[in-house]
Symmetry: C2
Subunit: 155 residues, 2 copies
């Protein structure tokens, strides 16, 4: 049994919640993904194992995970207004999105700490969190000669 399932099970128990077949399926599917799926993508995959599964249930489960701080959500500038769900939370990491294939790569850096401090000093503000998003072409798409679409990056 995966970590997510275990963790959610524990938390559900604490509040009188229930571990349903659908929830287990969605969590297990999510755990197989290293990418940052959209709700639709996750739904499509999970549905292969249970064709009766409903998109609402996927959203409800993702929101539950979000509440429990087990995933985070993010809208990349590359995409319209669609959320992507990040199961790697809460490890601090940043993102790169390929503007051609929309794949997401996570990376770490400690530069952000300094940037935060600089900002706090300069604006007398309190910075809680911060994230970096890079846009460009991943190895594969670069090799396939995908042009860098002008005007599509994070501007």
């Amino acid at each position: 049994m995966g970590k997510l399932v275990q963790e959610i099970n524990k938390r559900l128990r604490a509040h009188g919640g229930r571990m349903t077949i659908q929830r287990r399926l969605i969590l297990e599917t999510l755990e197989t993904l290293t990418n940052h799926p959209t709700a639709e993508e996750l739904f499509a995959l999970a549905r292969q194992r249970d064709p009766a599964l409903n998109l609402s249930t996927v959203y409800r489960t993702l929101r539950l995970l979000e509440q429990e701080d087990l995933v985070s959500t993010r809208i990349f500038n590359e995409e319209r207004r669609q959320e992507r769900f990040d199961p790697a939370y809460p490890s601090e990491h940043h993102h790169f999105m390929c503007t051609a294939c929309k794949s997401v790569i996570e990376f770490e850096t400690d530069s952000i700490g300094q940037i935060k401090m600089q900002f706090e000093r300069r604006f007398d503000a309190r910075v809680e969190t911060g994230s970096i998003v890079l846009y460009g072409l991943c190895v594969q798409c670069r090799q396939e000669g995908n042009p860098t679409k002008p005007g599509t990056g994070d501007r």
Copy 2:
């Protein structure tokens, strides 16, 4: 006459476009704002000068500006799925959003260059653009004793 109006006028001319009363009003209103307004916010302000103005027209004008690379759009994690329009483009800058009052502060840093290069080397990718977003409390909200809402930052 503001810079935006002038610039758009020039580009319209080149494609047989027209400078209308509505466009001028929207551009002039946008120029008075240092903040990153939503379409609704800009609409509300512009409407004070022309109550017949329509929200569609605001959107269409903003998209025109976007196409012409005179504003950029961004969805902050703090907000649902609502775009904010950034007239400071194309100067390279980054953002801080106050989680309490939703105000946006722009700032510059050169750290991003190194981060891009590090990433390119490590993943053999091509990075075109990159942006940093910080979340926290601005001076005012911090002084008013606003608690840092847990679970609302950019996670």
